[in-house]
Symmetry: D3
Subunit: 302 residues, 6 copies
């Protein structure tokens, strides 16, 4: 696939749709306004300047841009000559966002395989309804904005991995139905917490005001208006979502009070931390040790 | 008002309805089962023993008891001869629970006065609907099981005080509508978290599994199915409930992100802590300093 | 009001008094010393360089400067030709510092109104003596160097707000005299902790070595050599100052042990945090969410 | 199996071997010395008193006791007439300790199955040598003195479960050899930290002075004098042991720096916490919620 | 020295002055009031009951008591027949408090030796004035109510030890004058924080409201009204007192900012913790390991 | 001593051996690879670029470099023309590393003086063996990579200071042999944790995977294969190493359980923190207060 910012050459020009971040209207020392922003085609990021910019902050993040290619401090920089919000028919926001490492169709196969292990018809119906209703969101929402699974469908891939892991360790006399349903739904609030419609991953107002744990509980409660589930199973399932961060200081309104909730919390930790560490290892350039925020030094050798 | 356990005398007998706590079936050293429990008439607490007890654990906490009055270790003790679950028509569970220090009618007057300060018709309608729908629960639910406002209507009195306090400090350019609504509703989840129908205050399964913060958000979301409120005000109101504990380690899934949420959090702290400290001061017997769990020594002198 | 750094033009010259920060003597790669500093007229900040500087570090922060206006990296930069400490008659250090958002005369009216609500003649006399003795310091000292109320008189405005807030919530059976006196005096140590005589706000040695809580206690103890106050009220007032940060880990040598101390602590939290959040909201440029050190993301939308 | 303290009757006598705890020589108010201790046959615990005791503190914890059966405060109490350290041929210390819930032979089958999944001949040899050398210790050492797996072979059962769990989640591109070896050996230091030779579980001096994490590293280092393992694999294996508590504040001298170490840490958490919670659920008497030190309330209903 | 409670015999009587703790007026089950308290002669502690007590809570803690010696639950118990506050001429409160393990005269010799090492005449004068003014308090005040140096003169002994230790490690280019003065005065606030005039150690109101760190700073500030000390040395000395607890969460209003303050903090830790641990070792009865609040298990073997 | 990077002049050239850090192969905007690194002669640090670099990452950190001296952004920059790993005979890695402030011969005199104070022949033999076996490492290993004693022999100097300090405060009835041996050996794991053979101080794989506390225990355990020491003294000595960081959250697998371990922990704190603070004071340029990571502001005036 070819990208708009491939093969830039100083002095050349480009024109097309790009996603923008950090858009600011600043002033030069002669008090003349200019637009300052970062632009990406989903692969390369370059800085852009629109000198003597007279307009308001452009609406949205996806812009049609025409620019001359210059450089500053040894980096390419776009000198923008023309800019407008892109029209919906001109782009697909997914084009500016990283794809999952596995095809989404495979993910649904794994989802279905997990759901088929559930014995309770009610829980099965709940998961099928969740898939139907939120299919599109599941295929887009990332696992996090930065730290782990930060790609399209990342939340879905992570949820499936957590459920798969938790399901295979059920010999501890746990309830497998609750484990699988809890694993698949524990992060469903992220479908509402994150935004991917503007070519960059960001938090929605809902995500900022309420966080994905609370939003997940509200989402499942809504699903349960359409699907029957007995009172105690409902409480246990909502509790797994409420407690999946494990400790109050990590954002859980309650600590796990069920063995199934303990297991989902720990499997969530395994998958998110191993993914974060793998990401560091994959980006490491020859050094054996790299410092990771919140983890300290980790091994990036063989 | 006369209570069943007033004027006990060793060797006498009593018969009537009492609330029980800590009910256990134990065995004597001769392997004979007996029932061990605490009994209260809402004012006095005495230990009870039912020797050679052959039945199962009695259903519920409110029991009709016939007993001889004995003593053990300088304390009265009931030697129970007969015991059965009390019939609903024989008692009112409120009779076994401490009453609020102000008449409930006065509380509703204060509630209405606050609601009348709200300019937004939608928020006003929401609060009126909350009052109508949960009137009975508000008149019963305590502010906490032990620490503060642990009496019938305690949650209501506390919510009103928080709203009143927050309302009078509105010169900080805050939104008074949001402040009052947030103050009155921040603890509404306690109506579902606590149980008062068995003559003692205790946690419900809902309270244990989800805690009152999450339950409050779910409750308001349900109310909003019947009352209109714009998206942004809804998010802000739910955010005030979500953040009213102020910090993740104190059980808030999100920290306050609005000045109105900061104010409700701090007013909640003032009212609950001052009430706790006042309780210690009122029960203090002449000593100037008493140790309080979580607060250290506090002053109980004049 | 016109400022010296208004309307700078590359190639022009300026001469006059400016306040300096971050003064350092560095060396060029040819080992030639130069002076590197930031200069402000109380409104604009520019970098300055004095090449081939042969003198010692200039005394004080307020300097008479003659310079040519150049630029570096798209920012103005002063090429200094001449520099000496400004003479006292050439400037007023207040000119380089941000002013409070309300006239100081209005603040004293509010102070007096609060003092007039105090019933105890002794406490009243104490506050009047504090005003007389520290009038000038109160009109200058900021509430903090950076985070909140970082302007001339900021400490006074903050203290009044805390006292006003605390005074209106006195229906909790608190002692209003203690509340008002505690509110007005809780931060009096900041008059000694901060320095404003050099055109920038900074910590004094006293502030660094002892912090404003201890300094406030020492200050009130000195005031009480001239004004009578009974032993118990003295202890309670000093305790309110000692405990106003609320927790040991937040710098309080004792936790609040009086309801009045709890209230002053919480009102101090409300006013400082709401002021900090308001500051972020006022400086926000169109984005709905901004990250604040110590608070996380806060809402900066409408 | 019959136990010595089965079917006690007041006034009767017993004679035989019992394990003692909390042995103290105290004085009556008439200054006459007596021995005060708790005695168990591995099933029942009773208090014992040896009045007018003239000897020293008895050597060891396993005693031959002859006593009359009395009672105090509604509990049986042994009035001891004769007491001496039991002779080695009179008892097996295992008789006084709880047995694992699965036969030890089954555990070794599971151990062997795990070892057979290891590809590296060196790691395989290490585990076989560990089994040979520490077979007896593995069959006795508990997982902890109190909280979880507190029975004979508890450390072995726990280590196997952790390795089994970790092995089945290897699709995360982890090194299965390291995972299995790390899981089986992470707690090997407990073989040296705990004492089971006196009829009660207790800490050894080694366990108190160095803790099982350090002791585990020392133990594996000794094993590696007899079995070859390359330098990097050795470091990784020792690191898994060093970091298995996950965080410094939980007693790990280093945080996990390898994905395999993260997985062993989390699986260790799952198995120990689920076991603790299951223990509470199994001992619960009809109540739906029980308070657990370090976990808060947990669900003990169906 | 003979004590009043030596050689108690059931049925005998005693009469004399004793110190009382935990004085409460309770009611028997027949609603008859009685006085319940603990009594000590400075060596032995016994419970006392004054049945049918009609008076108010006795004034003070040191009481003249006439009683019959009974027993309860295997412990002696005084059945009090007569009780009044002791007259000042009847006792010395020191008689009821544990003595320091070294003669106080020796302590002053060590104090003087330290002061003679000080070069600065001003600091020397300050310490001599402190000795003169507070000699009596230094000879009585304990190092703490419970945990360490809980005996008459304990604060003095502890202060001397800290100064001696800190003085001998001065090869780190520290200021020895400041070190010695800081060591001797760091806990001077305890002279005001603790009460020893009632036969038991307890907190004063000053100690509760302000804690010994703040009280120490106030005390030295008062001493400095009579003795000259330059501004910077004054600030450094007060800073050593302010920071001697080392961290905010341990009650220090500022962290150490001088090397001399770091050294006093650490030497304070050494002396108080080693003293606490030694106390546990001395009271240990044959067991090798004992649990200490805040320290965990410590070694109490040889 | 003359250094290669003394007296640089723009346009000049240099050739010789330098130590390199932060070596990266990057790409220019024209996709042409270049080597980017920092180079030091042990005194000066300069950036270097090798444009159009076609090779692999150079082996090791010590490089023979030929370069033209240019400048960028007011700093010298080396434009490298030729580069290869230096040959062992061309340099001594110590030349690139800062030297200790005292001659190493003096350190061994102090070491011997301490060892001569030890009464136990076994402990004495252990320390002499440690000196013999690790003499070279002790003369090179730093106390830390950055924060304190970051120079050749820094670990040795620090260990001696800790032992000297601890030895002079032995009047607290401590065991002086254990104190001296513990002080000298507490950081012996740093000999294996740090690397100084590449002209920069860095962590070894051993240091990253196991940290110096665990490595110190392993090292002493190895030494004890050659030197006899009784079981209890061995445990106490290893415990001093295990607990010398004082608290789990500071990296100690066990808290101090012996008074000797408490003393070594606190003396370690004194020496490392005073050294860190002294380093800040020595590098301070005229300002009275500087901010130090982990300590806050410290005094850097006179």
């Amino acid at each position: 696939m070819a990208f708009l910012l491939d093969n830039l050459k100083e002095g050349g020009t480009i024109a097309g749709v790009l996603a923008a971040k950090n858009i600011k209207i600043l002033k030069t020392r002669n008090d003349s306004p200019y637009l300052d922003l970062l632009l990406t085609d989903g692969k390369t990021i370059v800085a852009g300047k629109f000198w003597d910019y007279q307009g308001d902050r452009p609406k949205g993040n996806i812009l049609y841009v025409a620019a001359t290619i210059g450089s500053y401090n040894g980096q390419f920089q776009l000198k923008i000559n023309y800019l407008r919000p892109a029209k919906p028919e001109e782009y697909n926001p997914r084009d500016f966002l990283p794809a999952a490492p596995v095809p989404v169709a495979d993910l649904w196969v794994r989802w279905d395989a997990l759901v088929n292990q559930i014995a309770s018809p009610d829980l099965k119906a709940l998961l099928e309804y969740a898939k139907t209703k939120y299919r599109n969101s599941f295929e887009n929402a990332p696992g996090a904005v930065f730290h782990h699974h930060a790609y399209l469908g990342g939340c879905l891939l992570h949820s499936i991995r957590v459920a798969e892991m938790a399901a295979v360790i059920c010999d501890l006399e746990l309830d497998p139905d609750l484990i699988i349903a809890g694993g698949l739904l524990h992060d469903i609030g992220k479908l509402v917490s994150y935004n991917w419609s503007e070519g960059v991953f960001s938090y929605t107002d809902e995500g900022q005001f309420l966080e994905h744990t609370t939003l997940g509980i509200l989402t499942v409660r809504e699903l349960l208006k359409e699907v029957h589930l007995d009172r105690l199973t409902t409480l246990k399932l909502l509790h797994i979502i409420a407690s999946h961060h494990g400790r109050e200081e990590w954002g859980a309104p309650v600590k796990p009070k069920l063995p199934e909730a303990l297991v989902i919390h720990q499997c969530d930790m395994i998958d998110s931390q191993v993914d974060k560490l793998r990401g560091v290892q994959n980006n490491s350039q020859g050094s054996n040790w790299e410092y990771v925020q919140g983890m300290g030094f980790v091994y990036t050798g063989d």
